[in-house]
């Protein structure tokens, strides 16, 4: 019985995959049905998942089983209720308190960490002796890093007109930016093809059994 249900699940998965991919031919009712099923099931699944895997173990159980040691949890509980007040037009302003706490805490923490990790450390990593290195490739790499970083930043300096030597440097910065966009595009293609590979491995393996899953 369990095996039959498992096979049925695989067949439903395969049918829904084809239904979604049918959009590549043209928009059609089968695609629309699959899309609505996905949205509906996702919303329902998340709702139940949030209650039983997030709210219950992190809030309800600690408060009901050991209130004395978890009194502080009352605060996020109240803020959570404040957030839900957005649904009531007359008191939706209350939700701003919850949002302000979330935004304030996250901004404060992220600002420090971003400054340290993404600004100071990255800057210090660009400060290097471009003449030393075990081989020519390393030295060349250092020069590319320094020139690319400097010219890239110059491109984003908009307080001076991009003309003359300054403009030429900014244009060189664009070249480095284009190379980085190209790399980003290549990686994006790889990611999307990987998802297609995953689906085809499912269809050819688990559904048709042509390849080893």
């Amino acid at each position: 019985m369990a095996l039959t249900m498992e096979r049925l699940g695989v067949w439903i998965g395969a049918a829904l995959t084809f239904a979604i991919y049918s959009f590549l031919y043209k928009d059609n009712p089968v695609y629309k049905i699959a899309e609505q099923i996905f949205v509906g099931i996702s919303a329902g699944y998340w709702f139940i998942y949030t209650i039983f895997n997030i709210l219950k173990p992190n809030l309800y159980t600690p408060l009901t089983s050991d209130f004395g040691n978890n009194t502080l949890l009352v605060l996020p509980a109240i803020l959570g209720i404040f957030m839900l007040c957005r649904l009531v037009p007359k008191i939706n302003w209350v939700s701003r308190y919850a949002i302000s706490v979330v935004v304030g805490t996250t901004a404060g923490l992220a600002l420090i960490r971003t400054l340290q990790s993404d600004v100071i450390t990255q800057m210090s990593e660009t400060i290097m002796n471009p003449f030393s290195g075990p081989n020519a490739a390393v030295i060349l790499g250092k020069w590319i890093l320094i020139i690319g970083t400097t010219t890239g930043i110059i491109y984003f300096f908009f307080s001076k007109k991009h003309t003359g030597a300054f403009g030429a440097t900014a244009k060189l910065g664009i070249v480095f930016l284009m190379i980085s966009f190209g790399a980003a595009f290549g990686y994006t293609v790889m990611a999307r093809i990987s998802l297609l590979i995953g689906r085809l491995q499912y269809l050819l393996g688990e559904w048709l059994g042509i390849i080893q899953p």
């Binding site: 895997n53 997030i54 960490r113 450390t121 990255q122 790889m190 297609l196 995953g198 085809l200 491995q201």
Partner: protein
């Protein structure tokens, strides 16, 4: 109408079909293209391989089913490597569905490592909301952050957690990430604030934004980028899985896309479309 004019007006569904065939055929008939191991992947391997016997490692599953084809193979490969070396594996998740991804990954390696025992060799601590804030709190006190595991067992009753007070008790952390919160936050807090070595695997889309952390400071010890990173790791541990099998298809698809772009650009100039745009 010239050949290139016809090509410029080709139905995009033909391109979809060619990509479909280009991906499907290599999955059925293996072409066995060579796979070069890149430095960032080798560094992740060395980090796992060279840790002390009985090392405690933290694996963070910060992704969901939408990126499973890319990230799950690398998570499975790192898990196999860790169990092969007899490390103590602690799993956590900054994404709700990461808990399920972790359970599935461990289930898939159990056949190969039947002696691993829950609570002794590995534990799934489950999901905790908060991202950066959660990692910061893990750095101070793991038990307060995760008072129970994913199955609601108290941490005090899980033997593997006896020696774990905070993040600094781990030999290293490997984050599997498909967005935020994820690997970037692990670098920012676990490495930069607490000094714990951090390596990871991410979706290919994230690689350009994470690459700057592969620097002299070793903000990231190493990085597995997308399906290719996973395939390289599978090759290094001599355990080819779905990633290695998918790389032939990946290569053919990339070749097709390069051909399409080249033809498109030639057609753009030959048909004089670039002049029309400039007018």
């Amino acid at each position: 109408m010239s050949f290139f004019e016809k090509l410029m007006k080709i139905d995009r569904r033909i391109i979809f079909l060619l990509i479909f065939i280009g991906v499907a055929v290599p999955l059925i008939v293996a072409l066995n293209f060579t796979l070069e191991i890149t430095q960032p992947v080798r560094k992740v391997y060395s980090l796992v391989e060279d840790a002390d016997d009985g090392a405690y490692i933290l694996l963070s599953f910060d992704y969901g089913p939408s990126t499973k084809p890319e990230i799950q193979p690398m998570a499975i490969a790192v898990l196999k490597h860790a169990f092969e070396r007899d490390y103590k594996v602690v799993c956590s998740a900054l994404w709700p569905m990461g808990v399920l991804m972790c359970s599935e990954a461990i289930e898939s390696v159990k056949e190969e490592y039947p002696n691993i025992e829950y609570g002794v060799d590995y534990v799934n601590l489950g999901y905790k909301a908060g991202g950066l804030v959660t990692i910061n709190h893990m750095g101070k006190n793991m038990r307060e952050t995760f008072p129970t595991d994913a199955a609601n067992n108290p941490i005090s009753e899980i033997p593997i957690m006896d020696n774990i007070k905070n993040l600094t008790n781990f030999d290293f952390i490997v984050g599997f990430s498909s967005g935020s919160p994820g690997l970037k936050q692990w670098v920012q807090v676990a490495h930069d604030a607490y000094g714990v070595p951090v390596a990871g695997g991410s979706t290919a889309v994230q690689v350009p934004s994470l690459s700057p952390y592969l620097n002299r400071e070793n903000q990231l010890e190493g990085l597995l980028g997308g399906l290719k990173g996973a395939a390289e790791y599978e090759k290094l541990i001599a355990s080819p899985g779905t990633a290695v099998k998918g790389m032939d298809a990946q290569s053919i698809a990339h070749l097709l896309i390069i051909i399409f772009i080249t033809i498109g650009n030639i057609g753009y100039f030959v048909t004089g479309k670039y002049k029309q745009k400039r007018l």
